[in-house]
């Protein structure tokens, strides 16, 4: 059994929390004491039924204001798959929290209120989904019960969205008409929409193919060097890390970056196992034939598929701090286990995320998205985000506050 991580996006009140509540409720994933707490809560729907949204709105302020402020993670499983859901906030002011929930997801559910169709928020969220390179998109047209379960409404909105998806280069998009409140097409198929020939949302989630492609870009950042320094294990020197992408085999030639020295894999350890091969996602300890100087922050890569190496890099950026971007100060850049200093060299453009227009810009504030050129103190060994997410992303840290100031997605070596 494997895990699917997905997140929900949509405007405030489109029904994200209700949809998640419905998924949990109809898969029998809510436990009796939680249900009891729900039933005794004074937040109820107009018809007196329990409000499923409170299952995820876990903070006092969220319950008081009836909105989602930060990502909540929920877990459930069926006999086909395990699911991790990130319920993310829709408000523009909490965009950074949405990006947090989305950054680790493989699939996005975009909710659209069938009464309103594609609105500004839909465009903004879809843009983020495309920027973050989320592999699969399910568009749920929600509140179908309020538009008489109309096929015409469904078709009009999906046509509009398809244009948007093409503009944004979204690849795998699926449309499902649902009512989160009543439960139509969420877990159980609806009897009110005979015109819809597809399956329920849950069925889709259970069957969508999310296997990792085992492409050749083997990369493993070194997190920690294991050196027992005991008499028996005097010469033991293992490089511990999690494989970001691709796979490593015993006898593969690997290059250590940034130094550029190379060696051959002698042994792969996963605790007491010694597999001949290890894949992306696994935490391993690698041993090399030659004794070379390697420490945390270095990355081991397959010598036949080297990453890009540069100090001047063009990147998409999402600003996440209340302090605006300042091109006069030095930030810290964290790229997996590598930490180095970094400056913003140039702002290429800012994107108006409601209209998707590119604009000239001199400043970047909280939740602004655009493109920049950065200059790092040390050379980075990176891949282009659209080709290899795991080695194509980094964060900026404001060293005055230590806060995470921005998310970076690398595009190219800049000149």
């Amino acid at each position: 059994m494997n895990i699917l991580k997905f997140f929900t996006a949509g405007s405030v009140d489109d029904g994200k929390s209700t949809l998640i509540g419905r998924l949990l409720y109809d898969t029998d994933s809510i436990l009796a004491d939680q249900l009891e707490a729900l039933q005794s809560s004074n937040r109820k729907n107009d018809d007196g039924s329990i409000d499923l949204a409170i299952l995820t709105d876990g903070l006092r302020a969220e319950r008081e204001q009836g909105i989602t402020i930060d990502v909540a993670y929920k877990y459930f499983q069926t006999d086909k798959r395990k699911f991790i859901i990130a319920d993310t906030p829709g408000h523009i002011q909490y965009t950074r929290n949405m990006v947090t929930g989305a950054s680790t997801a493989k699939l996005a559910i975009i909710l659209i209120d069938a009464r309103n169709g594609v609105v500004e928020q839909t465009i903004r969220h879809s843009y983020l989904v495309s920027l973050l390179g989320i592999e699969h998109v399910v568009v749920c047209l929600n509140k179908m019960d309020m538009v008489g379960y109309s096929e015409t409404v469904f078709n009009a909105i999906t046509d509009r969205y398809k244009t948007l998806a093409a503009d944004l280069n979204l690849k795998d998009v699926t449309f499902i008409p649902v009512s989160a409140l009543k439960g139509d097409n969420v877990v159980n198929e609806s009897e009110y929409m005979p015109w819809y020939k597809g399956r329920s949302l849950l069925h889709f989630l259970e069957t969508v193919d999310v296997a990792e492609e085992d492409y050749g870009l083997a990369r493993m950042p070194v997190q920690w060097v294991v050196r027992p320094q005991t008499e028996a294990l005097h010469d033991y020197r293992g490089y511990a890390g999690r494989i970001l992408s691709g796979s490593f085999n015993v006898n593969d030639r690997v290059t250590v970056l940034p130094s550029g020295s190379s060696s051959v894999i002698e042994r792969i350890e996963i605790f007491d196992q010694e597999p001949a091969q290890a894949h992306a996602g696994q935490s391993v300890t690698l041993h090399l034939k030659d004794d070379i100087d390697i420490s945390r922050g270095d990355v081991l890569v397959n010598s036949d598929h080297l990453p890009k190496r540069a100090q001047l890099i063009e990147a998409d950026i999402c600003w996440m701090d209340a302090r605006p971007m300042d091109d006069s100060i030095t930030y810290l850049l964290q790229h997996n286990s590598k930490l180095t200093k970094c400056k913003i060299r140039e702002i290429i453009h800012k994107v108006d995320i409601n209209t998707l227009e590119k604009q000239d810009a001199h400043e970047f504030k909280l939740n602004d998205i655009g493109r920049v050129v950065i200059k790092t103190a040390d050379e980075l060994a990176f891949d282009v985000y659209s080709e290899n997410k795991a080695n194509g992303a980094a964060i900026l840290i404001d060293s005055r506050t230590n806060l995470t100031a921005a998310a970076l997605m690398f595009r190219a070596v800049a000149d």
């Binding site: 059994m1 494997n2 895990i3 436990l31 009796a32 004491d33 939680q34 707490a37 299952l55 995820t56 709105d57 876990g58 903070l59 006092r60 302020a61 402020i69 930060d70 909540a72 993670y73 929920k74 877990y75 499983q77 395990k82 991790i84 950074r96 990006v99 947090t100 950054s103 296997a211 990792e212 492609e213 085992d214 492409y215 997190q223 920690w224 294991v226 027992p228 294990l233 511990a240 999690r242 605790f271 894949h279 996602g281 935490s283 996440m320 810290l332 964290q334 790229h335 997996n336 286990s337 997410k389 795991a390 992303a393 980094a394 964060i395 840290i397 230590n402 806060l403 995470t404 998310a407």
Partner: protein, 301 residues
Amino acid sequence: MSKYNLDYLDELEAEAIHIMREVAGQFEKPALLFSGGKDSITLVRLAEKAFRPGKFPFPLVHIDTGHNFEETITYRDKMVERIGEKLIIGHVQDSIDQGKVVEQTGKNASRNGLQTVTLLDTIALHKFDACIGGARRDEEKARAKERIFSVRDEFGQWDPKRQRPELWNIYNGKIHKGENVRVFPISNWTELDVWNYIKREKIELPSIYFAHNRDVITRNGQLMAASPFLNMDDEDIVEHKKVRFRTVGDMSCTAAVESDADQLDDIIAEISASKISERGARMDDKVSEAAMEDRKKGGYF
């Protein structure tokens, strides 16, 4: 190009190991908070997988309320001997003796709340900058909101409105002097995942997790182990029942469930079928809807 999927336990394990190694790489003086419960026992196993054959780059820290199940302490000491790592104990009794906290009185008195002070003092004394804990997001809805690297201020407080964005698998562990980070490597595990992992890894547990006969009393609808730490009076009727514990904490706040499950498989079957959440077996969460959020803001684990 071939395609492959990691099995879910392998994926959860790899993620947890990655997080532990980030702690080792990013911090000067980390610690692993060890309660003797199944979640922290799982953490110890994960630390072995992350760092063996090397030593752990951190000591284990036990905040001891003094109101322990004897079985937990026996287990703890045996385990520490087996793994050969350092154990630091912070005693709630010391905080009481120093007058920093006052023992609760009355029928529902418990030392659970007092632990926070001892924890913060222990962190300050040893200058720990990161504390690895076994909290999971499925336990409770305030926890469902917490980051894997959760920054606490000088007073140990969690501010849910000012959490740092946490992107991809990149963890920002930068902090100012006096602050520390609570790190939760098994955030994404469910209770059932932990049990399945314990089974797969053949991890030994304290015996109180398995069904056994014990004197219990019923308090607020829950079964509590009769012990000198529980303020009992004439209304409390002691019964002898076959029970086990789903979660292990202070004796005065951990409730038992009636059970015949004396094997891991039976426990897993029981939990799969259970309709009550794990935290439902803890008196400390019953107080209010925001009980956990408030305790975390105050510096709790």
